[in-house]
């Protein structure tokens, strides 16, 4: 799907109509017709009053014209009914479809953005944009724009009709002048109100977001609050934010008081009344004309407060649209190659050549000029201190990011020249912080491979040593995992994630501290199963377990983004002081070396 580029927020807002030009024209014309009909009813009312005389023509005692006018008004009502429904239907089609597609488009675009994007943004905020912001843009089109068209249409048509009254009598257009002063003044004041309210409303809704955020945060971490007994502190923090929210809410509410446009309308009505009444007294106007004028002005009353409200929504929608357009325009540093290299020996050597990487432009390098060769088919252990760059190395191999500098080569091919799809088909990662979906155990494992057969899924679970505990779950493989997979223990989650990756049957397997919560016995069985699976393939394991270090073909020690040492256990224990330090402290090392661990378990 080609990516639509929106030139501006307005273009984004209006893209709803661009797709249906014909329907748009019809809708707008009919919307104006609705305004005309509304005002016309007032006009006919005046004519009816003039026609209201005794007549012996029929047993009702009213002139046929009068009765005709009554019917006419009823007809107008019916026509109005139909018109507005058609307008509403047209707008609903255009804007709701737009909302649906805009939401889908937004999601697909940000989903396709590389992890660099997702690192920078708050996912809750993105959700809010996808749901609320897009809805507000839609509100700005329907009902806001739809109603604005009708309201302004009514205002203009009523003004013209009022001016027409003098014209009818061939008089100097006093009514026209009254309206010509009143209407713009009215619009101006309404607009000014909208402009004054907008920033307040925006800060208020930002403050509301903040309030939601701190509330969410505190209750997610309620155990921490409890453990440190910081209830009072948190309460005070909340008070500060909610008091500010109160202040803004008050301000916004108060701006609506003393709403001047209403006074303008009143003054205009009074002036028109005075003028018309005088004309009636002097015998120029009929009384129907007076009624006509009053009814026209009265019909505007209904729009009076709606107008600024909708103006506000339109302006607000524009701000939201801007935010969305900006997000959609994000430039991804990770580019797909125009043509992906097809023949790659995934079993070849993995080479990091002068690789530097940073997670963001202002972040320091997580990897610094890294040079590394992993021979084909070897089993590798990656160890090192917190934040050393182990997970980062694995993520680069999955091409979740591209190196900022240098190259990552597999079988002699630069990963940049391979599409992410191909890379991720061949490379499998079990991530450090396991994420499981709110789906059944079965579906979670099945996520690893498209159209996986049930047998394959059971097999993967068995290899991951997960079958036993899955069968003990209330509904076995059909058990749905709760929010963020919280109802499973850490070790259980890790095993499901391993099953998911095994199902994928990757050529290169990356395990990021994936057995840390699995008990030693299960881990032993798991290791045996993995050996089987990974025979002849390259695997890299981040681990804290001694046994793994002893078994692998290559140990790589990273610290603060640089390689400290590489080699086998036998080599490193001789040559690397760093490794000696680590090894000495590894669980189990003590009993075999006889050196006393700090403290000692006795």
């Amino acid at each position: 799907m080609a990516r639509t580029v929106y030139k501006s927020a307005t273009a984004y807002q209006l893209s709803a109509f661009r797709r249906y030009p014909g329907l748009t024209v019809i809708a707008v014309v009919l919307a104006l017709l609705a305004s005309l009909l509304t005002t016309l009813a007032s006009w006919v009312l005046g004519d009816a009053i003039d026609a209201l005389q005794f007549s012996a023509d029929n047993n009702l005692g009213m002139t046929p014209e009068f009765i005709g006018y009554c019917w006419l008004i009823l007809g107008i009502a019916l026509l109005l009914f139909v018109t507005i429904i058609v307008v509403g239907y047209a707008f609903a089609i255009m804007t709701l479809r737009w909302e649906r597609d805009a939401r889908q488009e937004f999601f697909e675009v940000i989903q396709r953005n590389s992890m660099t994007f997702h690192d920078q943004v708050d996912s809750k905020q993105m959700l809010a944009v996808a749901m609320q912001d897009i809805r507000w843009v839609r509100f700005s089109l329907n009902p806001a724009l739809r109603n604005i068209i009708t309201s302004i249409g009514s205002l203009i048509i009523a003004s013209v009709l009022l001016a027409l009254i003098d014209f009818q009598y061939g008089l100097f257009p006093v009514l026209g002048i009254i309206v010509a002063i009143g209407a713009p003044l009215y619009l101006f004041l309404a607009y000014r109100y909208a402009v004054a309210v907008e920033p307040v409303r925006r800060t208020r809704s930002e403050q509301n977001e903040k309030l939601t955020e701190i509330t969410q945060e505190v209750f997610r971490g309620v155990e921490v609050v409890r453990a440190f007994g910081t209830e009072r502190f948190e309460s005070e923090k909340f008070t500060k934010v909610s008091k500010e929210y109160e202040r803004l809410m008050t301000r916004e509410g108060r701006l609506a008081a003393f709403y001047l446009p209403n006074l303008v309308l009143t003054a205009t009505t009074a002036a028109a009344f005075l003028y018309c009444a005088n004309q009636v007294l002097t015998g120029v106007f009929t009384v129907g004309t007076l009624v006509k004028a009053m009814a026209l002005l009265g019909s505007l009353d209904a729009f009076s407060f709606m107008l600024p409200r909708f103006l506000l929504v339109i302006r607000g929608g524009h701000v939201n649209a801007q935010r969305i357009v900006d997000i959609l325009a994000w430039k991804d540093p990770l580019k797909e190659p125009s043509e992906s290299v097809k023949t790659i020996d995934w079993n070849g050597d993995i080479i990091f050549e002068n690789v530097s990487f940073s997670y963001g432009s202002d972040a320091p390098n997580a990897l610094k000029k890294l040079n590394l060769t992993i021979p084909a088919g070897s089993r590798v252990a990656l160890i090192g201190g917190p934040g050393g760059g182990k997970s980062t190395i694995l993520k680069l191999l999955l091409r979740l990011y591209d190196p900022t500098e240098g190259r990552v080569l597999v079988g002699g091919v630069n990963l940049r020249d391979v599409s992410t799809r191909n890379v991720r088909d061949a490379v499998g990662l079990v991530e450090q912080n396991i994420f499981l979906f709110k789906m059944s155990v079965h579906d979670n494992i099945a996520f690893g491979k498209q159209d996986a057969a049930d047998d394959e899924i059971f097999e993967a679970a068995a290899k991951a040593q997960a079958t036993e505990f899955i069968n003990e779950l209330p509904k076995g493989f059909e058990t749905v995992i709760g929010e963020r997979g919280m109802t499973l223990s850490g070790g259980q989650r890790q095993r499901l994630a391993i099953a998911r990756t095994l199902l994928q049957d990757p050529r290169i397997l990356l395990l990021d501290d994936s057995v840390s919560a699995i008990d030693v016995h299960t881990e032993y069985l798991l290791r045996k199963a993995l050996e089987e699976v990974m025979r002849g393939r390259t695997s890299i394991t981040v681990t804290q377990r001694l046994r793994t270090l002893l078994e692998v073909d290559l140990i790589i020690i990273v610290d603060k983004g640089s390689i400290v040492a590489t080699g086998t256990h036998d080599q490193l224990i001789k040559t690397s002081e760093h490794y000696q330090h680590i090894f000495e402290r590894l669980p189990g090392a003590v009993s075999y070396t006889g050196t006393k661990n700090s403290g000692g378990a006795n």
Binding site: L45, L80, F219, V224, A267, L400
Partner: protein, 623 residues
């Protein structure tokens, strides 16, 4: 009164309220608290405003009659005009004053309600929080309070709307009973609208909300798991799933929108049609031999009909919103009226300075009735002792930690700190004395510095840095973009797992508790960093009561005694040597551990070599 049931009840899908309307209304009134007076004033203003509003059409109609009489003077018209202006101005001022006063009162009311709900929830039982879906608690604090305030607004509007309605009807009746009766023609339309919205409308609305909720949940989930979708090349499937849900939401949304769209023309067309009817009836009365109406009155009728229709409509539409407000009040009362089961006793005393050590006496505990997680646990941890708790996952280790923190109260048995029963001391003093490093580290949004300081708000930057240095956390924090000032967000997703754990350890160590509990606190650290943390702990917490929970047996290296748990039972306890000698469960655990970790392929030779190398370093280090 039919209105009592409201349109929602017709739909049969309304959320069930657990309290009667009377109880809820009384509670609403009670919670108005200090805002009662000001809201009463606002209500009076609003009533006054609507009185003035009700009569201004009268002036216009007098005007029409006046001009029909050729003997009228212009000054009379001028007078009417002024009267009209005064009436309008007065109702404008009164209405504005009402808005002005009410805005403040309403915002204040919302704030005070939010605060009390928030405070209540902060102190609610952890079991309550565990049972809540994420987002539910937040909507109690944010949306329900807001909806309640809308309910208050409705109650205030109610009086003025009823007044306007009644006044208008009386005016119409005085003008002409027949006109007034004609006006009643709109009642069926209003009923139609109410029923339509109450039944079909409610249902469509709920279905729409549900469908949108599902879309939102799907997007939320897909965004949190976006790295997984990428890793497994499943983006297009995820998009397709969303597309289906999105289409579903559109379908419902479209129906709802059409219903809303139907409402507007119905209202406007009815208004105009009613005007035509009144005109016709009024016209009939105005002409003819026994002319009972003036032209002005006919005109009045056409204005009044609008004034009658609108309040009637909004009054009935408000009923739906009001039901929603009552439901919110109901949910809020659930929160506000529940007393936490874990709370300070009335005569609770602060933990005394020299109470130390932990005693479990016949403690049994279950999270959910029927499945005991801890069974009759007895142990004593002497003041200053370091004790390890080991066992498989699910053995109940974390539960022990939770009980010592009094997150829950055991169903039976007693827990003592020193010789004070935990239930007799204030929780504040308990939490100042006991600190926990939790298994799942949770960091707040904010800088690294702020997060560590959470353990001790008065700590200076220097103090925090010194501690971090001692723990070996310093160098891992300094590599972050802004060092200690790096902003963490979304639970620290911009940090490595080990860094998060380091910060959470530093936070607790800073609190400097008398009793320290570590629940798998170093599981995400490599052996070297773990050893740094351990030696920091030794230095800082030497001689303090410490409980170390771990399944990695080296983590418990410093413990003097070991408690072995299995399936919620304390199987054995003693020193490492004692337990090994005993040959029980611990020995099995220990043996499997070392068996699977090292045995087999390591030759004696390799061991000897390693030992030699390590000796060398050892001697170097000690120089």
């Amino acid at each position: 009164m039919a209105g009592h049931r409201g349109p929602g009840s017709l739909a049969g899908v309304r959320e069930k309220r657990s309290r009667s309307m009377r109880v809820l209304l009384r509670a609403m009134f009670k919670h108005l608290g200090k805002f009662k007076r000001i809201i009463a004033i606002a209500a009076v203003l609003s009533v006054l405003a609507s009185i003035f509003m009700a009569v201004d059409p009268l002036v216009l109609s007098w005007g029409v009659d006046l001009v029909l009489d050729p003997s009228s003077a212009f000054s009379a018209i001028l007078l009417l005009c002024v009267l009209y202006l005064v009436l309008k101005l007065t109702s404008w001022i009164l209405g504005s004053l009402n808005t002005w006063i009410l805005s403040g009162a309403q915002a204040g009311f919302v704030q005070s309600l939010q605060q009390s709900v928030y405070d209540k929830l902060l102190r609610a039982d952890l079991s309550y929080h565990k049972a809540q879906k994420s987002g539910d608690v937040t909507s109690r604090v944010i949306s329900d309070t807001d909806s309640l305030s809308a309910g208050i607004q409705i109650i205030i509007d109610l009086s003025s709307q009823i007044l306007l309605l009644v006044a208008t009807f009386i005016l119409m009746w005085l003008t002409s009973p027949l006109v007034a009766l004609t006006a009643l023609l709109v009642v069926p339309v209003v009923l139609l609208i109410v029923v339509l919205f109450g039944t079909v409308g409610q249902r469509i609305m709920l279905a729409t909300q549900r469908a949108i909720g599902i879309v939102s949940g799907q997007i939320a989930e897909s965004l949190s798991g976006v790295h997984i979708a990428k890793a497994f090349n499943r983006e297009s499937e995820t998009a397709a799933t969303l597309s289906k849900l999105n289409q579903e939401a559109y379908r419902h949304g479209f129906k709802f929108m059409m219903l809303m769209t139907l409402m507007q023309p119905l209202v406007r067309a009815t208004g105009i049609a009613a005007m035509s009817a009144v005109l016709f009836v009024g016209g009939g009365l105005a002409v003819g031999a026994a002319s009972t109406l003036t032209l002005g009155q006919v005109f009045l009728g056409t204005i009044l009909i609008q004034r009658f229709f609108m309040p009637l409509l909004s009054l009935s539409m408000n009923a739906t919103q009001f039901q929603a407000s009552l439901a919110s009040m109901d949910r809020l009362m659930d929160v506000l009226e529940t007393e936490p089961t874990v709370r300070d006793a009335l005569d609770a005393v602060p933990l005394s300075e020299n109470s130390d050590g932990v005693v479990f006496r016949n403690v049994s505990f279950s999270y959910l009735e029927g499945s005991e997680v801890l069974r009759n646990i007895n142990f004593t941890i002497a003041p200053g002792e370091t004790v390890a708790v080991v066992g498989h996952t699910g053995a109940g280790k974390t539960t022990i930690a939770a009980l010592i923190n009094r997150f829950y109260d055991p169903q039976s048995g007693q827990i003592l700190i020193g010789n004070q029963d935990m239930k007799s001391i204030t929780r504040e003093s308990l939490h100042n004395t006991v600190s926990l490093i939790a298994q799942e580290p949770y960091l707040f949004n904010g800088t690294v510095m702020e997060n560590i300081r959470y353990g001790k708000p008065s700590a200076t930057d220097e103090e925090i840095k010194t501690l971090s240095r001692l723990m070996g956390a310093d160098e891992y924090i300094e590599v972050l973009p802004q060092g200690y000032d790096t902003l963490l967000f979304e639970e620290g997703k911009n940090l490595s797992a080990g860094q998060i754990q380091m910060i959470s350890i530093a936070r607790t160590m800073l609190a400097n508790p008398r009793i320290l509990i570590l629940d798998e606190a170093t599981s995400r650290l490599d052996a070297y960093s773990e050893s740094l943390v351990q030696s920091a702990q030794e230095k800082l917490f030497a001689g303090r009561t410490t409980v170390v929970i771990a399944h990695r047996l080296t983590t418990i290296a410093n413990a003097s005694r070991i408690l072995v748990f299995e399936h919620g039972k304390l199987l054995e306890h003693g020193t490492h040597t004692e337990l090994l000698a005993k040959g029980g469960r611990y020995k099995v655990l220990y043996d499997t551990y070392y068996h699977h970790q090292t045995a087999g392929e390591i030759t004696e030779e390799a061991v000897a070599r390693a030992r030699d190398e390590l000796r060398k370093i050892g001697s170097q280090a000690s120089v």
